[in-house]
Structures are given as structure tokens and as C-alpha cells.
């Protein structure tokens, strides 16, 4: 009884935000929705948290229908919206206490669940929430979403705008929370975070491109992929894009991820092409496709 989404469609006045999406999240699973801004992630979250009606399709959260049983869902889920949505003029402790009270519980009762997270912001508990740093805000928001021991946790882009260290800490916490049996649906635009989920759905333009484990999803990449390096990165990208046999060219950190149309592709051919065009220090080696490569490929 995790989350079940069947053929959900939703359109606003001009935009088709979701186009017939279906997927299942198993109980206790950490499921990631990976996609760029505007893919429809927030709309999906709002439908699942009973804030919006879908135009078509049905969905249920821990067995409750999102339309009929919306009250039961509101009692049993934790939701952390994409935008920081706590009371900025209340202190850290007051926010937490408030959310505990309106969910009919106390901070003490469920302190164990949030301890790991809250302990990091506890030194600032008398500070107004609006004056916290980005990472601390997210930790507080997570604490508030967890304080009533929800069965399902919805986190809409929880790490957007958070520094890398805090991001890592945040994901460590999610992993620990998962151990307690909470089903977690999390969305993120960061591909590196996707690898930390049990399963992920790649979503773009309101459609799901692929659902699989992070290890499984990269197998969907149809070609061999190469790291290409040279002294002039900008020139390298341009030359590769002009290369007649190129299948895909994406800059990836200090490398360019390159794949070729031909089945019998030989790296020597490319090497000589690039040398001919005047590039130096050329290095080409095989590498594994990443989730990002797969996403780009599927999103074509």
C-alpha cells in the first residue's frame, strides 16, 4: 500500500502539465521523480497530496483514494512543498511545536524520528525560521513534515538551492528515515541524487520516460559512450557536433560524453579527425552511461 498512480492527466489553461502518468511506489520504498523544471513534478505532488484534482485517472496513497478519502490522506502523510513554507516569523521551536499540535501530537512523542535531523538545528531553536540558512530551513521543514510520524512522505525538490554538503546530509537522513518504514516520494532536478533512490522515474513534459532502478536505467542507453578530452573544450564540443557520425555530444564536467552512430566505431578515427582540426592533448576512453546521459537520450 504505497502510492499508486493510474493514467493521471492534468492540464491548466494552456499547459498540459501531466499526460497520462502511471506508476507504483512500493511501501517503504524511496522513489525519485527526476526531471527538469516544468516537467510536472509539483503538479503530481499536489494531486497526490489532495491539493489538486486530476482531470483524468485515479491515484491512491497508502490505500486511500486521493479524491474520496482526502481527509484520511491529509491525516497520514507528510508534505514538504518545493517552496519554503514554514512561518518565517516563528522560531524554529515554535514552528515544530505548531505542526506537532495541529497534527494532534507533541514534539516529545515523536522526537526519536526527527532527532537526527533536529539535533543539527536545535542550537538555533530560538532563531526565527526566516533567518535560517537554506540547508537549515530544509532540515526544519523536514522535521515539521515528519513530526506526526507520517506513513508516506512527499518531498518536492527538497534540496533545490541547498549547498552540496547539506544536500548530502539531507539524503543520508532520507535513507535513515526509510529504515523506519516510511514510504518516500521525492522529486529532484539533480541527476546525482537520483542514484540514491531505490527506483526512479524520469519525467519530462508531463510524461514518464522510464521507470527503473538507478542501475537499471542506464542500461537503457543504446550506445557505447566515450569520455573525450582535449586542450580546447569549446572547440572540442563544436568539432564533435560537426562530426558526421556523431550520435550525441554532451559536456560532462571536464569531459565531453560522446557516442557514435556506427556500430563499428573506432576511436582512432575520431582521434585523427580531431588532430586534423588542430586540437591537442586528445584523450578518448570508454565510460559508463550516467542517468543524465540516459535522460538526455530518452528526452530526445
Amino acid at each position: 500500500m504505497g502510492i499508486s498512480v493510474k493514467h493521471i492527466s492534468k492540464s491548466y489553461k494552456k499547459v498540459n502539465a501531466l499526460k497520462g502518468i502511471s506508476f507504483e511506489v512500493k511501501p517503504g520504498e524511496l522513489f525519485g521523480l527526476i526531471g527538469p523544471d516544468g516537467a510536472g513534478k509539483t503538479t503530481l505532488f499536489r494531486i497526490l497530496t489532495t491539493l489538486l484534482f486530476a482531470d483524468q485517472g485515479t491515484a491512491s496513497v497508502s490505500g486511500y483514494d486521493v479524491v474520496k478519502d482526502y481527509k484520511s490522506i491529509r491525516n497520514s502523510v507528510g508534505y514538504m512543498p518545493g517552496r519554503f513554507s514554514l512561518y518565517q516569523d516563528l522560531t524554529v521551536a515554535e514552528n515544530l511545536e505548531f505542526f506537532a499540535t495541529i497534527f494532534g501530537t507533541t514534539v516529545k512523542e515523536n522526537y526519536d524520528l526527527i532527532k537526527d535531523i533536529y539535533i543539527q538545528i536545535e542550537p538555533f531553536k530560538n532563531r526565527r525560521a526566516g533567518k535560517l540558512s537554506g540547508g537549515m530551513k530544509q532540515k526544519l521543514a523536514l522535521s515539521c513534515a515528519l513530526i506526526h510520524k507520517p506513513k508516506v512522505l512527499f518531498l518536492d525538490e527538497p534540496t533545490t538551492g541547498v549547498d552540496p554538503v547539506s544536500r548530502k546530509e539531507f539524503w543520508d537522513m532520507l535513507k535513515r528515515l526509510q529504515q523506519t518504514g516510511i514510504t518516500i516520494l521525492v522529486s529532484t532536478p539533480y541527476m546525482d541524487e537520483a542514484a540514491l533512490c531505490d527506483r526512479i522515474a524520469l519525467i519530462q513534459d508531463g510524461k514518464i520516460l522510464q521507470i527503473d532502478t538507478p542501475q537499471g536505467i542506464v542500461k537503457h542507453y543504446p550506445k557505447k559512450i566515450f569520455n573525450v578530452q582535449a586542450d580546447n573544450m569549446y572547440e572540442l564540443i563544436n568539432l564533435l557536433k560537426d562530426y558526421a557520425h556523431q550520435y550525441s555530444v554532451y559536456p560532462f564536467g571536464e569531459f565531453v560524453h560522446y557516442s557514435d552512430k556506427r556500430a563499428d566505431f573506432n576511436t582512432a578515427d575520431l582521434q585523427s579527425y580531431l588532430t586534423e582540426k588542430g586540437l591537442k592533448d586528445i584523450a578518448i576512453e570508454t565510460t559508463k552511461a550516467t542517468i543524465e546521459d540516459t535522460f538526455m537520450e530518452l528526452a530526445k
Binding site: L51, L52, F103
Partner: protein, 368 residues
């Protein structure tokens, strides 16, 4: 219930931490009452006038004495000829010039008829009218004194009695109006802003996805403002009693009950506004334009309803403030009981129920 109390506690945190709003909340009633009580008034006091006395005899001197002895006028200067009248008006120092004709006493005795001309600066028509009325009254009095011993065959004597406000203090008229405006503003605008703030900051999203019922959210929002508005009402009544010596003829208890009723009416309007506006700014604009202006202009607070054109008179019926002002004046000035204001009370109750019903219907349990 614990949830509800927690919610109200949070609302009070918001209110008391927002120092600026708090200042407006409590500073405004005091400032407004003081302004209306002391500065903005229809009465005339110590109006500067000039005298052009062509005859300079005992009668004119007596009249001038009488006029300057009254608290309404102070004789600023004497001028010598007609041509100076224009120039003193242009200087703006005096608001009126009294002109006595030549041989005033002689004519009065011989012909039984002497003329005084009152020239007023009518750039402010109300003041000019009042000045001329007051001067006339002083002259009439003087005339009566002169005729004391003379039998006049026919006489109509008017005896004017200004009921409920014998001294015609304009503050008596303003207090009910200001109280109405303040309660309206605090209740309607503040609640609508505080609800839309939750929408704007995204906290409404979390409140919706919580076991709190919409009605709990709304009542939780409203209760602190009932409390604050009642304090405001008390402050206003105390100020008007102790500073402006305004009497409260009727029962204070009834006054309190009726005020709470009007506060609830305004709050329900505030809730209604918050259901139709998405941002604090819209809520504020709607409250100001849609509530404040009609309340000031159409409630009979400043402009008498009876002298409005018919369409405006009809519109004034749907302004809650109109009925509350009638109730307030009734209780405070006339000392009437519920028996005389039950109709207005019933109208306010009806309006409140209507607004609450509409708000509940319009309140969204979802984001759409």
C-alpha cells in the same frame, strides 16, 4: 480543541511580532479619534473677522462688542473703506467682514431700519454659511434686547432645541463613524490579509494537507482579531467619554454586544475577501476600495443619506456600517434600548450569516 488553541497561539505570535501592523492596529484608533475630535470639525471657533464701520456710534459699538465677546468670532482688524475689503480677503486673514452703513443709530431710531452687511469668504461654503448664521443670530438677539420694552403686535418666536447634542459638538457625530471605520478596517482588512498571507507564503498548502478542518483555520484566524477589535472599541469609547465628554446614554452592555456583532460582520466580510483574493496586496486593495470608501462615503457618517441621490441611497442599504452607525448613535446619544434598534440589529445579523455562508461556499479545501 488542542489543535485549535495551538493555531490561535500561532496567530498571536504573528500579530505581536509584526510591530508595524501592531502599531497601526492600536495607534490608528487613537490618532483618528484625536484627529476627528480636535482638528476636523464643523464648528467654528474664534473666526477672524474685520469690521468696516461707517457710522462709529454707540449702537454699532455695542454690536461689535457683542460679536467679539462671543467665542465664535474675534475681531481681527478695523478697515476704513470698501476698497480694503477685497484686499483683506485676499490676504486670507479674515473670513468675514461686517459693514455698518452710515448713520446707523440715526436711521435705527428715526426710520426703525438700519442695515448691516455680512460679507463672507465663501471659498469654503460651509464655513461661510455657518458664519453668516451665527452673525445673524447675534444680531437677532441684540434686536430683541432693543425691543424689550416695545410691544410688537405680532411675533413668531422660534425656540430651537438641539436634542441629544445640545452644543452641536461634531465629535458626537464623528465618534460613531470613526468607531465603525476602525472596527471595519481592523476586522475585515487584517483578517483578509492574514489569511491571504498564508496563501501567498505557501503555508496554506501545508495547512490544507493537515488534519485541521477549514472551519478551524478560519475561526482560528478570526478569534485573535475579535479580541483586538474589542480592545479597540473599548479604547475608542473610553477616549470619547473621557476626552470629549461624550455621554453614553444607553446601556454599555448593549453597546458591547452590538459592537461584537458588527465586528463579526466585518470579520465575515474579511473572510469573504480572502477567499476571492490570492495575494495580500489584492486583499488590501479590495478592503480599502470595496469597504473603506463606501463605509466613509455612503454610511451616513459624513454625508447624510437622505440628501444623496436615490441610487446611492439604495446602495447605502447594503453597507453594514450604515446600520451600525444608526445603532451606535441610538445607544450612545439617544440612550435607546434594543426595542428601537432591533431592525438594524437583525439586518446586521442577516448580513453576517450571508457573508459567512458565502465564504464557506467559496472556501477552497484544495488549491484550485
Amino acid at each position: 480543541m488542542k489543535r485549535f488553541i495551538g493555531f490561535i497561539k500561532k496567530e498571536f505570535y504573528h500579530i505581536f511580532r509584526d510591530k508595524r501592523s501592531l502599531f497601526i492596529l492600536f495607534g490608528m484608533p487613537v490618532a483618528q479619534i484625536m484627529l476627528f475630535g480636535f482638528a476636523i470639525t464643523n464648528e467654528i471657533n474664534n473666526v477672524d473677522i474685520a469690521i468696516l464701520d461707517h457710522s462709529k456710534d454707540t449702537y454699532t459699538q455695542e454690536i461689535i462688542n457683542k460679536i467679539s465677546a462671543s467665542k465664535y468670532f474675534s475681531v481681527q482688524q478695523y478697515i476704513a473703506n470698501e476698497s480694503s475689503i477685497e484686499s483683506v480677503f485676499k490676504k486670507g486673514k479674515v473670513k468675514a467682514v461686517l459693514v455698518f452703513e452710515n448713520d446707523f443709530s440715526k436711521k435705527l431710531i428715526k426710520e426703525n431700519l438700519a442695515k448691516v452687511q455680512i460679507i463672507t469668504d465663501a471659498t469654503d461654503p460651509n464655513t461661510a454659511q455657518t458664519i453668516s448664521n451665527y452673525t445673524n443670530a447675534i444680531l437677532q438677539n441684540y434686536q430683541k434686547e432693543l425691543n424689550k420694552n416695545v410691544e410688537t403686535p405680532y411675533q413668531i418666536i422660534t425656540q430651537t432645541h438641539m436634542n441629544y447634542n445640545p452644543e452641536l459638538k461634531s465629535v458626537f457625530m464623528f465618534v460613531p463613524g470613526v468607531m465603525t471605520i476602525i472596527l471595519m478596517l481592523v476586522s475585515a482588512m487584517m483578517t483578509s490579509i492574514s489569511i491571504t498571507r498564508e496563501k501567498e507564503l505557501g503555508t496554506m498548502e501545508i495547512l490544507l494537507v493537515s488534519p485541521l478542518k477549514p472551519i478551524q483555520v478560519i475561526i482560528g484566524k478570526v478569534v485573535p482579531y475579535i479580541f483586538l477589535s474589542v480592545i479597540n472599541a473599548i479604547v475608542i469609547v473610553l477616549l470619547s467619554i473621557f476626552i470629549f465628554k461624550m455621554p453614553v446614554q444607553g446601556s454599555l452592555f448593549l453597546l458591547g454586544i452590538e459592537s461584537v456583532l458588527f465586528i463579526i460582520t466585518s470579520l465575515s466580510l474579511g473572510i469573504l475577501i480572502s477567499t476571492i483574493s490570492a495575494t495580500q496586496q489584492t486583499a488590501m486593495m479590495i478592503s480599502l476600495m470595496g469597504l473603506m470608501l463606501p463605509t466613509i462615503l455612503l454610511s451616513g457618517f459624513i454625508f447624510p443619506i437622505a440628501s444623496m441621490p436615490l441610487p446611492l441611497q439604495i446602495i447605502s442599504n447594503i453597507i453594514p456600517a450604515r446600520w451600525f452607525i444608526i445603532i451606535l448613535k441610538g445607544i450612545m446619544l439617544k440612550g435607546v434600548g434594543l426595542l428601537f434598534i432591533w431592525k438594524e440589529t437583525l439586518i446586521l445579523i442577516g448580513m453576517t450569516l450571508f457573508f459567512i455562508g458565502l465564504s464557506i461556499k467559496k472556501y477552497k479545501i484544495r488549491l484550485e
